[in-house]
Amino acid sequence: MPLKPPVNEVDHCQGDKAAKIVIVEYGDYQCPHCGRAYPLVKKLQAELGEDLCFVFRNFPLAKIHPDAMMAAIATEAAALQGKYWEMHDILFENQENLDNDALARYAQRLEMDVEKFSSDIADQQFISKVESDFESGIRSGVNATPTFFINGEKYNNGWEGNRILDFIRANDLI
């Protein structure tokens, strides 16, 4: 199933969009499975280097994960201060603590303007950004988190251990 819409200018990317491998993750900052996938993605990035562009889209299951929506919004607010990926990392490394006080502490730790951050996360525009990520996930057939897309196609072969890397190598994607 194809990714709808394809990776575009509103996405947050680590790496060059023209890289040989573009991986999109739909994830939820409060989801324990996404927490387990986080170091595996880091490992994949270390292995593939410049051949990989990594994109993260939000898919918060807000009713079972009450802090997931706010956490996603916090990363968008951090992006305004050029700290999107720093916030992304700190949230996955501190999944057990994602309430509003914790978010402000992380902003402080990242040497952000905390006052601006706190007023930004109350801004409605970020809710619609996160919701449009979620909707794109639904359209693309995301049914759980994390769900990965490799070069625009939904990847269904499991992400545990080295499975993504094995898949990339087995299919001669690099």
């Binding site: 199933m1 299951l61 079972i64 639904i138 049914n143």
Partner: protein, 159 residues
């Protein structure tokens, strides 16, 4: 499964320990019937959690979601509370699987509903169906596309 164009068979089942819901109560609204094997099992949990987030998208299309399994009403109540579900779960419990049989989605071997979806229009006519492999969460993209198509057809008719 029952084919699109068929009138959806009427039923009444318990939605809470003391309240039954009938399909006919939803006349004038689209209805999504999600038959699933069991409360608490991992895939079902994901599927229902996903649908829980989808309710506002469904309601944009004037559609109500109903989950149906053979679990009893008290089991549904506990599952629904624990997962904070905001849509009814119906107990196809006695006679067991009768409604699933009516909709041709009962698995006789395991004694559970298959993982199957129906979308009904405002008149209670089946417009879309989908049988998912039992271990796979079917997601919501198919439902959403079916709802959109139904609305498109209607818009074209009014024009």
């Amino acid at each position: 499964m029952l084919k699109p164009g068929t009138a959806a068979p009427e039923f009444s089942l318990y939605a809470t320990p003391d309240q039954q819901i009938s399909l006919s109560e939803f006349k004038g609204k689209k209805v999504i019937l999600a038959f699933y094997p069991a409360d608490w099992s991992p895939v079902c949990g994901d599927q229902m959690a996903l649908y829980n987030e989808m309710l506002k998208y469904f309601s944009k299309h004037n559609a109500n979601l109903i989950g149906i399994s053979v679990d009893g009403k008290w089991c549904h109540l506990a599952f629904s509370l624990e997962r904070k579900l905001h849509f009814p779960l119906l107990a196809d419990f006695e006679p067991k699987g009768a409604v699933a049989r009516l909709y041709e989605v009962y698995d006789e071997k395991v004694g559970e509903c298959k993982r199957a979806l129906y979308v009904l229009d405002e008149e209670g006519i089946i417009r879309w169906n989908y049988l998912s492999p039992v271990g796979l969460n079917p997601g919501a993209d198919g439902i959403l596309e079916a709802l959109e198509q139904m609305d498109d057809v209607k818009t074209n008719q009014t024009v």
